[in-house]
């Protein structure tokens, strides 16, 4: 009996209750949302949708397909974007070193226009080295490739880079869960502050890519080398039944991002649940006047990778 009483008291003491409550949140009205990353030497692709009430049913489809969308290059109207697939696409390629704005108009919504975005100069310089081949054996940590990527940044502290591996997932229709990444801090970085590194998922050419983003201000005068471990998550789609897949034509991409997009990525994640006790949600970052979303810019370089997985199909 005593133990039951003590347990009850303990339960009361440590209990934390949760409940759904009725709450009225004012809604500012529907606004247009523009999202896209302008990458040099490629066509602009912009997705347009609209906002909805912060509480209540989540609409199944909020895309806006009938807007008038124009592209301004160095303040001159250059193109009207056409709706193709699920986004508005330009007929011309984006050029590095130029400034762009996107403007969208649609009946029933306020006109929106992005801030002027400078596409970084196309001088991405990096090297890579595959330092470990697949070494398959039964166990939780294999197969695994290690790839070292060195950014030749001339020891600049003003650039932001994103690195991702295009594993041609769309073609194979495989759903790989991600990759592990490790930084050799003694060699690569002198500052491991929060705010130097980000892991994000963004839509690039119709594929959700997991990107790692680095700000060179954190490297204080060195060209950093990053070590990526492509572990079994890349191969292990159905290992017991079908074995491991060898990825066809994998590529390593390095993007040089504009500072504006870095700011957006930094503030993209909001604290949730337990973290709300430590940090308030922050104001949503946008560079769209009259609406929401982000138009970023990047120049890019890539290299084809060779996967050495001997046991893969």
């Amino acid at each position: 009996m005593l133990s039951r009483i003590v347990f009850l008291m303990s339960f009361l003491l440590i209990s934390c209750t949760e409940k759904y409550i009725d709450y009225e949140l004012p809604f500012e009205g529907e606004k247009l949302v523009l999202n896209g990353l302008l990458i040099s030497e490629t066509k602009a692709k912009i997705k347009i949708s609209h906002t909805w009430k912060p509480l209540g049913d989540v609409p199944a489809d909020v895309s806006v397909r009938d807007a008038l969308v124009i592209l301004l290059e160095d303040a001159v109207l250059m193109d009207t974007l056409q709706y193709v697939g699920d986004s508005y696409q330009s007929n011309i390629n984006i050029k590095s070193g130029h400034k762009y704005r996107i403007r969208a108009m649609r009946m029933g919504y306020n006109d929106v226009i992005s801030n002027e975005i400078l596409v970084p100069k196309n001088d991405v310089d990096f090297s890579y080295q595959q330092t470990k081949d697949i070494n398959y054996s039964l166990g939780w940590d294999t197969p695994q490739d290690q790839i070292d990527v060195t950014l030749n940044d001339n020891k600049s502290n003003k650039n932001v880079y994103a690195i991702y591996f295009d594993l041609n997932l769309k073609a194979k229709n495989l759903d790989f869960s991600g990759f592990w990444e490790s930084l050799d801090k003694t060699k690569s970085t002198t500052n491991n502050d929060k705010g130097c590194f980000l892991s994000e998922s963004i839509d690039l050419d119709g594929v959700k890519q997991k990107i790692k983003v680095y700000n060179s201000r954190c490297f204080l005068g060195i060209n950093p080398t990053f070590h990526f471990y492509l572990d079994k998550a890349y191969y292990d789609s159905d290992s017991f039944v079908q074995g491991y897949y060898k990825i066809p034509n994998p590529r390593l991409y390095v993007l040089k991002l504009d500072e504006n997009f870095w700011q957006y990525l930094q503030l993209k994640s909001q604290p949730k649940e337990f973290n709300l006790a430590f940090e308030a949600p922050h104001t949503t970052y946008t560079n769209i006047n009259g609406g929401y979303g982000i138009i970023g810019a990047a120049s890019q370089a890539f290299v084809a990778l060779t996967m050495n997985c001997k046991i893969c199909k």
Partner: protein, 761 residues
């Protein structure tokens, strides 16, 4: 020279000067704020913080009436000119039930609050443990934040803007984990003074409040003790003479019982060899020695230490993670006081204070055979350490003027973070985090109370503080001004102005009382905060009915505030370059009206406290540079506190509180993000509020008085089980095949019964 002249002039007149101490007849405990009054001459004074008084009387009329709340009034005749006397008052148990919430002491100052220790025990508290911080939060203008937090929010300020002193030593962390109880054990306390405005010049270094707590000196006539057992903790206190009427001691200790309960929450799965064990405990220990070296010279040595411990261990066949946190305060005060002359009282104090927090993690990965494969040990420490010297003189030139002057010198040593680890690849980071920061703070002050007219008193002062950090010096004059006008028929008017500087900052992401609070000094990049506050009020006192009514309003501006940039918190990652990270040069403003109605006589006593207030902040880099409500801005705050003595043995007490919800940031819309997932749009900081909070706490106590006084207390916290909001979150819920965004409210404490039993002998 001026002081000497004043003293000399007064001694030439045909008067006699009576000085001495007022103390408790049974214990010898000095009584702070006792009233000494000559009815014929209509002249009076009160004892200072050390129980000392000095009064000048006509040579042909030296009768005195000495009174103190809870004590029988004493009339004294035939006093000797320029004599030194010790006046002893007898406590009256019947009068204890009529203790005033707002005593006469420091009555000249607007924004002053006094809660007698005995009154604390009549206020129901969480899990039945009487508590200073909780009791203060039921007074106007002071809020304890939401449940589960430990901070004290005074007139729109933040917890780090409160100067909390225990026997003059600063206490940096005033509450135990989760705000269950403060670190102040009521059985060891003698007096609590709180200033929300009109700060006397002897205090400095914080913007929003001063909480000056004095420990008991110890009974120098007979042994006595107290012991109690409750859900939160067990408490023992002993005091008595070392040399009768010359030297005394008091020791008191409190240890938590929560560890017994939390152990039951541990889980273990024998099948998978997985498990989690948790343990929490805290303790407080107070000790004080008091030695009367001569009739006029007294020496004190007081000590306090308290700590919280949390241990979490989770394990399975392949790993064993151990996390141990501990944090706490330690203070020590050596004080010697001397009655230099009937008109001059002097005091010298050497004070040590330390707050430290440690975090120890031990991560072990095991092989199949149970042998250790890898082991990572990290021990991080942070804290602040102070050594202070204080010299003070209380001077009483005549009945119209009394002066307090002195100097304070403090050496601060800040250790924002010191990390030790066996994880060698992090060695660069470790070296970087071992920096310690030093600072010196010098203060000089003079304050004077001048009775300009029989019904008009001015209490003015000036403080100068010089603050030295390695790269810079900061200094500033801090004028203080208080006016008290007695309008007659129990009515009075008070006005106070004070300027305050603050030279330290608390980097904290919350106020749950976890050891992620880091104290850092002001720097050239984040210069000292300062505030200006004006406060005025009307007061009505009705002695016949024991009623005290006050209506005060205030306006406080704050400058050089700091906050965290959006998207940044210090949880788990702190760098000594904090002043590069935080947002600086913020402004704050807080204003409000406070109403208090207290009934201090009769079988029913209690008070109603209501505050209507607003507290806002502005930073260039937050909320688009617009004003926004501070997190703990609560426009309406109402407390109703009552005690009803059913019989001489039984009493019932109750507290009902109502608070507007605290400000928080909620979305103004939802949208699709660049990754194609739904996300919420936040367009303003603290743009909404949680639902209002309210709660009823009940307490019953039965006291049997005899040779051993026994008290049984039963309590019910949150009697009608209202779910008060701790946090709100917008979550996605699956509904009828679709998704719905809705708000989830997190609450901490539901209805909690409590029982405690105490004896006093």
């Amino acid at each position: 020279m001026l002081l000497f002249l004043l003293i000399s002039m007064s001694s030439l007149s045909q008067t006699l000067t009576i000085s001495g101490y007022v103390q408790d007849y049974k214990t010898g405990e000095k009584l702070i704020g006792a009233s000494i009054f000559n009815e014929n001459a209509k002249k009076g004074t009160i004892t200072n913080n050390y129980g000392f008084f000095s009064i000048e009387l006509p040579s042909n009329n030296s009768h005195l009436k000495v009174s103190y709340v809870g004590y029988e009034t004493k009339k004294i005749t035939n006093l000797v000119a320029t004599g030194f006397t010790i006046i002893e008052l007898s406590s009256n148990n019947n009068l204890l039930q009529e203790v005033e919430v707002h005593a006469n002491k420091n009555n000249d100052i607007a924004g002053y609050v006094h809660i007698p220790i005995e009154k604390l025990k009549n206020i129901p508290a969480l899990l039945g443990e009487p508590d200073v911080i909780r009791a203060l939060s039921y007074t106007p203008g002071i809020s304890a934040g939401q449940e589960g937090t430990t901070g004290l929010y005074v007139r729109g300020g933040t917890p780090d803007q409160n100067l909390i002193l225990l026997d003059e030593a600063p206490v940096y962390n005033a509450a135990h984990f989760g705000g269950f109880v403060s670190v102040f054990n009521p059985s060891s306390l003698k007096n609590i003074d709180v200033y929300k405005a009109g700060f006397p010049a002897r205090y400095g270094g914080r913007l929003s409040s001063v909480l000056d707590i004095a420990m008991k000196d110890g009974n120098n006539k007979a042994f006595e003790g107290e012991a109690s057992l409750g859900i939160i903790g067990s408490n023992v206190s002993l005091q008595g003479p070392l040399v009768k009427e010359k030297a005394s001691f008091i020791i008191s200790g409190r240890y938590s019982n929560i560890g017994l309960l939390s152990a039951l929450g541990n889980s273990k799965s024998s099948a998978s060899e997985e498990g989690t064990t948790t343990a929490y405990s805290f303790y407080d220990f107070n000790a004080k020695l008091n030695w009367l070296l001569t009739k006029k010279t007294q020496m004190f040595l007081s000590f306090f230490t308290g700590k919280d411990y949390v241990k979490i261990n989770n394990y399975d066949k392949y790993y064993n993670n151990h996390l141990a946190l501990d944090w706490g305060n330690m203070t020590g005060t050596f004080r010697i006081s001397n009655v230099i002359s009937p008109k001059v009282f002097g005091k010298l104090a050497i004070i040590y204070s330390k707050f430290g927090a440690n975090q120890f993690t031990d991560r072990v990965i095991l092989k199949d055979d149970g042998a250790i494969q890898t082991r990572q040990i990290i021990n991080s420490e942070s804290g602040v350490e102070d050594i202070t010297g204080k010299l003070r003189f209380d001077i009483f030139p005549n009945n119209k003027i009394s002066l307090v002057t002195g100097i304070d010198i403090t050496h601060h040593l800040f250790s924002p973070s010191v990390v030790k680890t066996n994880y060698t690849t992090n060695i660069d980071s470790v070296a970087k985090l071992e920096n310690k920061l030093k600072a010196n703070e010098y203060g000089a002050y003079i304050e004077g109370e001048v009775h300009v007219l029989s019904n008009l008193t001015l209490n003015t002062g000036l403080r100068y503080t010089l603050y030295q950090v390695p790269e810079n010096n900061y200094g500033g004059l801090e004028p203080r001004f208080n006016l008290n006008y007695q309008m007659g028929n129990g009515w009075s008017f008070k006005y106070g102005f004070s300027r305050m500087n603050q030279f330290i900052n608390l980097l904290s992401n919350n106020s749950t009382g976890l050891p992620n609070d880091i104290w850092v000094p002001s720097t050239s990049k984040a210069p000292p905060q300062f505030s200006n506050q004006s406060s005025l009020g009307f007061y009505k006192k009705n002695n016949a009915y024991g009623l005290d009514i006050s209506l005060e309003c205030y306006y406080k501006s704050m400058s050089n505030l700091i906050d965290y940039p959006e998207g940044v918190n210090f949880l788990g990652s702190f760098d000594t370059k904090w002043d590069d990270i935080v947002i600086k040069n913020g402004q704050g403003r807080a204003y409000g009206i406070e109403l208090s109605i207290a009934k201090n006589k009769g079988v029913f006593t209690g008070w109603i406290a209501y505050t209507l207030s607003k507290s806002e902040r502005i930073f260039n880099a937050i909320n688009k540079g617009l004003w926004y409500p501070s997190t703990y801005d609560r426009p309406h705050n109402l407390s109703i506190v009552g005690t009803y003595n059913l019989t001489k043995k039984w009493s019932i007490n109750a507290v009902w509180i109502y608070q507007s919800g605290h400000a928080l940031t909620l979305p103004s819309a939802a949208m699709t993000d660049i990754d194609g997932f739904p996300s919420l749009v936040y367009s303003g900081r603290n743009n909404q509020r949680t639902p209002d909070a309210h709660r009823l706490d009940l307490g019953f106590s039965r006291k049997s008085i005899g040779r051993i006084e026994k008290t049984l207390s039963l309590g019910l916290y949150n009697a009608y089980n209202h779910a008060n909001p701790y946090a709100l979150d917008v979550v996605t819920k699956a509904v009828n095949g679709g998704k719905q965004l809705t708000i989830k409210q997190y609450s901490l404490f539901s209805i909690i019964p409590s029982i405690s039993y105490s004896i006093k002998f």
